[in-house]
Every structure is written in structure tokens, then in C-alpha cells.
Amino acid sequence: MAKPGLDGHERGAKVVARGLRDAGMEVIYTGIRQTPESIAAAALQEDLDAICLSILSGAHLSICRRLADAMAEMGIEDIPVVVGGIIPEDDTEELRRLGVRAIFGPGSNLDDIVAAVQEIVGGADA
């Protein structure tokens, strides 16, 4: 679970991280103010099954673009990425094109998020 960019509102990130943990997953939270490059490095170093991003700042497109580049450079582009936050409908197609596997906007149900991550991670293992 990572919060890229400068936005420090981490309520959502912490809630989802707890939800994933309570569903039996091992979760590492990077804390606030991460760069896409530092998140990719963390994914490589920790050998993660999935990267979850929490983005409220409106900078999701450029962040995901930079993350995709960094992951490609490190050869970890197969690690699935999930994005949550204030994501306008219009941007979902571009995010999916950048390899984002699931997108959760405001008002999402935590169980739905957990189920989606479980499915994606299961898929990644297979």
C-alpha cells in the first residue's frame, strides 16, 4: 500500500491496508509522500504480489505513467497495480491502458476491494 505524491490524507490508505491485513494478507504500508520510483523500488525489494496506490491529489495519470515506466525499467511490470481515490470516470480507460487492474472511487465497499485484490493476487500467482 503506497501513497504517491504529496497528499498526506491517508485515512483511506490505512483503512484499506487494515482490511487487507484482516483478510489474511501481509501488507506493507510505505507511508505518505512516495515517488513512483520509490514505490517500484519497494515492490522489487519486498518481492510484492500487488501494489495498491491511494491517490486523492488528481495527479493519478502522471503518477501511474511514471510508475509503469519505473516498473518496466526494473523488469517488474507484471506486478499488478490497484488504484483507489478520487478518480474521474473519464480517466479510467487511460489508467487501464497503463496496466492498472482495478480502480476504486469514493464510497467503495471494503469487502469489494479486498475481494478484488485477492482475485488479482491469486491470478498473479497462477
Partner: protein, 534 residues
């Protein structure tokens, strides 16, 4: 009346099926002696007997985006539409974190969540054509960068022949809650508190009518605190600032008239009303008992903002009803100043039309409902008085617990507040998922969204515009003067001197926000965030 413990307020306080005098008896509230009139200690019912009869609450509208010109345009628009809370400056994230707009971390965030301000030249463009005396009030959420915002505005007064006494600068300048909830901290917490209290002490001496601190519970509430915890944690933080200020030789008794406490108003209507009443009482008692403030000096400013958290991205027009109810609760709670969110804020920063609707909500409450015609109209309500007493009790219990942990700063360093907020945020989400808590349009009465609501559009040209302003500003400086001024900032930080004069000198020498904050970081070191196994 026996309490039904299964039905509770947002703060988990029990609610009886109905309330009467036995409820108050059980709580030890003496109806005859428990409700001193407004204008008298402990001010539960308000600071002034006349309440809003002699003047409505201030109608502040928080705004800012893009470059200084963009924000300036919105301020003029709001003032023309009758906003009475002056100019309320929302800052973008790079500015709040002390980074220049061309810093690598600022990329793609310039002008997004607020206006980008890099240097004093931006301040001149921000205020261009705005008569500060007439606006009466300038507010900004400057926290970690409190001293710089203060210096910018004071330097503006000095160089543009504006008497600081003709308007009121109010800066949030409350870094403690950034570490707990909001996340714009960049220095170690002790250093940040030292800078914040330096501003308070300097302002007390040089701009005594300004409001150099607004101790804020709002962000802690947004991050998960209950209304009662919001109240308790804020007063714990306010106590910490006042103790540090006393150590600098400024007494709360002298300082108090320019102290502000800031909360946000959530949806549990009567609990919110009671919260504001309980806070006035609790802080007045702290002022009298702990800091020895004479009763006539006790009143502080109570500032309330409607909460963004209950606003939904689904069926956004419903947010007009939510905002109205929150605005009503904070007025019934007797707040001196309010800030009202806009119905499209769950989607993006507000469009002009949505901002005006929120301003009109205040105007309708003030002029059309008759609520302002008498002070504390809910005073004496069995339910509101019982809740006021219960919240007051939570505040006292929490302050005792935080005291045992060594005070607010020690509690922050131990992660006490953070854990409390995270736990409640999680429980709150669970209640939403299970339908235990209903939010219209989100987990009940859900509607297929057929209408795509207009949202505020971000112009990518802003970033380029701001970067060119920054480059032009840097070219116009005297390098030797700049270097010497920044050395002065480092020296002041390393000593026990008040840092504000050195920051003022740096601003005058053309230093950017990034350069001044870099000087702070060089002396104090940096706040570090660690990866953590959840």
C-alpha cells in the same frame, strides 16, 4: 431515564429514548445553576449575550487553485457575491510542504489542491486589486510554513503601505495535527512547534490584532476522530502550544483574545451543537484554572467548517442538504466564523456555481430562518444539555490520559492519536460496509448515475505559468543579499532567537519558500516516514 446503550451518537455516547430532568440529574447537571447565561463564565451558551444580533458569523469561503492570478480572480468573485470572511487562501501541496514549484517532488501537483506560492512576488499578484482593509480578513492553512506566510503578509503591509491593524491575518500555524492527521509536516515535530510558537510570540508583540494560530481539530476528525475526540485532542494540542508560549514569556492571559480554535461539523446534528458548547466550557475552564486567565479575557474565536467527509461523489446535489444541516449545527453551536464546503467537493475543487450555493446557504440561514434572533436557542434542551455534559466529560478524561502520556507532543511521538484515529476510521468503514450506518446514495437509495456532473477543470497551463514566474523572480535578486539572509535564517534556527525576523529578511531579499525551508531543514533535520508492516 435509563440510557439505551445500543443507540449512541457518533462519539459512542448513549442516547436515551427521550431526555428529561432525570437525565440531567443522573449526569449531575443542576438545571437551575448549570446553565449560566451567555456572556458569562464558562461561556457554554456563548461569549456574548447578544449573540448574532449584533453581527452574523463570518462567511468564509475557502478557495485557491492554479497560479496567484487564478486564485485572485476567485477571491474577487466571492467578495463580490457577499462572502464576509475575507480572503481564504487554500495552498497547493508543494507550497504547504515548503517546496518550490520546480522541485522534482512538486511535479504534477503545482496549483492543484490550492494556489501555488513560491515567493513574495506571488503574494503581490495574489492580493492584486483586493483591498485588504475592506476584505477585513486573510486566512491561510499555512502550518508547517506558518512563519513564511506570516512574513509574506507582513512584508506586503510594509511595502504596500497597508496598516496591519486594518485587517486580520489568520494563519492556521498548527503543526502538531499535521503529524497526527494531515501530513504536510517536513521537520521533526519539536522544531515545527518551536517555529509555530515563534510566530505566535512575534505576532503578539508586533501585530496584536492578528490571529497567529488556529488550533485545529478538523483534520483529526476527517482522519477518524469522533466529535468528542476531536474536541479533546484539539484542546490537548492548544494546551501544548500555550505551555511553549509561556516558556517564551507570553502568557495566555495576554494572548488569549487572538486565539482561535477550529473544528469541523459532521452530520450528527445535536452532538455537533453540543460539541461547540462543551468546547467553550472546557477551554474556558482550562484558561482559568491552568493558565490563570481572568474571566473577561477568556473568550476565544470558535471557527467551524462543514466537514468534507460526509459529502458523497454519488448524487452530489444531495450534498447541499448535508452542508445546510452542518452549517445549521455550527450556527446553533454559536460559532464566530464558519466555512462552508461546496456540493461538488467530493469530485474536485469547487466550481464557481457550487461555491456560491454554499455562500447562499449561510445567507439563507442568517436572513431567512430567524435562528440568529436569539442566543443559544437550544440551551436548556434536555438532550443538548446532556450531550454537552457528556462531551465535556470525554474531554476531561482524554486530557487526563494525554497528560499521563506526557502531554500532546509525547502522545504524538508515541503514536497515540494516530492509532485512535486509524481504529475509528476502520470501524466507521466497516459500519458503512455492513449497512449499520446508512449514507444516502452510497449504501442505500443507490441510483444508477445517469447524469455526469460538471467538475472543475484543471488547466495544465498553470504549472508552466507558475514555473515561468518563479524563474523570473529568481533572476531579479541580489545573490549576495540572498545568501546572507539565508545564513541569517540558519543562525536564528540554531540559536534560541525568534526566527521570524530572519524569515522576514529572507523574504525581503527574495528568498523562495523552498530556499527558506531548506535552511530550516539544514539546521533541524527532516521528518522521516518509515515503511511499516500493517
Amino acid at each position: 431515564m435509563t440510557d439505551d446503550t445500543t443507540i449512541t451518537t457518533t462519539s459512542d455516547l448513549p442516547i436515551a429514548a427521550y431526555h428529561d430532568s432525570t437525565t440531567l440529574d443522573e449526569l449531575g447537571v443542576d438545571e437551575d445553576r448549570g446553565f449560566p447565561p451567555p456572556g458569562t463564565y464558562p461561556f457554554t451558551r456563548g461569549f456574548r449575550e447578544e449573540g448574532y444580533r449584533t453581527g452574523f458569523w463570518d462567511w468564509e469561503m475557502y478557495a485557491g487553485f492554479g497560479s496567484a492570478e487564478n486564485a485572485n480572480e476567485r477571491y474577487r468573485f466571492l467578495l463580490e457575491n457577499g462572502a464576509t470572511g475575507g480572503v481564504s487562501v487554500a495552498l497547493d501541496l508543494p507550497t504547504q510542504i515548503g517546496l518550490d514549484s520546480d522541485h522534482p517532488l512538486a511535479q504534477d501537483e503545482v496549483g492543484l489542491a490550492g494556489v501555488a506560492l513560491d515567493s513574495f512576488s506571488d503574494i503581490e499578484r495574489l492580493f492584486s486589486g483586493v483591498d485588504l482593509g475592506q476584505a477585513g480578513h486573510v486566512f491561510s492553512t499555512a502550518n508547517a510554513i506558518g512563519p513564511i506566510m506570516y512574513a509574506w503578509v507582513l512584508h506586503y503591509c510594509h511595502t504596500h503601505d497597508v496598516d496591519p491593524a486594518t485587517f486580520r491575518l489568520q494563519i492556521q500555524n498548527d503543526p502538531i495535527k499535521e503529524y497526527i492527521a494531515r501530513g504536510t509536516q517536513f521537520l521533526p515535530v519539536q522544531a515545527a512547534v518551536r517555529l509555530a510558537t515563534d510566530v505566535m510570540a512575534y505576532s503578539h508583540e508586533h501585530t496584536p490584532t492578528w490571529l497567529p494560530v488556529s488550533v485545529s481539530g478538523s483534520h483529526m476528525k476527517q482522519a477518524g476522530a469522533s466529535p468528542a475526540e476531536e474536541a479533546a485532542f484539539t484542546l490537548a494540542n492548544a494546551t501544548a502550544y500555550m505551555e511553549q508560549l509561556e516558556a517564551k514569556g507570553v502568557k495566555l492571559a495576554d494572548f488569549n483574545p487572538t486565539l482561535e480554535i477550529h473544528f469541523c461539523t459532521d452530520m450528527d446534528f445535536f452532538e455537533e451543537v453540543a460539541k461547540y458548547r462543551a468546547v467553550r466550557r472546557a477551554w474556558s475552564e482550562i484558561g482559568r484554572e491552568r493558565f490563570g486567565v481572568p474571566d473577561e479575557r477568556l473568550p476565544f474565536r470558535l471557527h467551524a467548517a462543514t466537514s468534507g467527509l460526509p459529502l458523497t461523489a454519488q448524487q452530489p446535489l444531495n450534498n447541499i442538504a448535508r452542508i445546510t444541516l452542518q452549517a445549521l449545527a455550527q450556527v446553533l453551536g454559536g460559532c464566530e466564523a464558519t466555512r462552508t464546503a461546496s456540493y461538488d467537493e467530493a469530485l474536485a475543487i469547487p466550481r464557481e456555481e457550487a461555491a456560491v450555493v454554499s455562500l447562499r446557504i449561510n445567507q439563507i440561514i442568517a436572513h431567512e430562518t430567524g435562528i440568529a434572533k436569539t442566543t443559544d436557542p437550544l440551551g436548556g434542551s434536555y438532550y443538548v444539555e446532556a450531550l454537552t455534559k457528556r462531551i465535556h466529560q470525554v474531554i476531561q478524561d482524554e486530557l487526563e490520559r494525554i497528560g499521563e502520556l506526557g502531554g500532546a507532543l509525547a502522545a504524538v511521538e508515541a503514536g497515540y492519536f494516530q492509532e485512535r484515529l486509524a481504529r475509528r476510521a476502520y470501524e466507521d468503514q466497516r459500519a458503512l460496509d455492513t449497512g449499520e450506518r446508512i449514507v444516502v446514495g452510497v449504501n442505500a437509495y443507490v441510483q444508477e448515475e445517469t447524469v455526469s456532473h460538471p467538475r472543475f477543470a484543471v488547466d495544465p497551463a498553470w504549472e508552466a505559468e507558475q514555473l515561468s514566474h518563479l524563474r523570473a523572480h529568481r533572476e531579479g535578486r541580489n545573490e549576495a543579499e540572498l545568501r546572507s539572509a539565508l545564513a541569517g535564517v540558519r543562525d536564528a534556527c540554531a540559536s534560541t532567537d525568534n526566527v521570524v525576523p530572519s524569515v522576514l529578511a529572507a523574504v525581503a531579499a527574495g528568498a523562495t519558500i523552498g530556499e527558506i525551508c531548506h535552511a530550516w531543514r539544514e539546521v533541524f533535520g527532516e521528518f522521516e516516514q518509515q515503511w511499516a508492516q500493517v
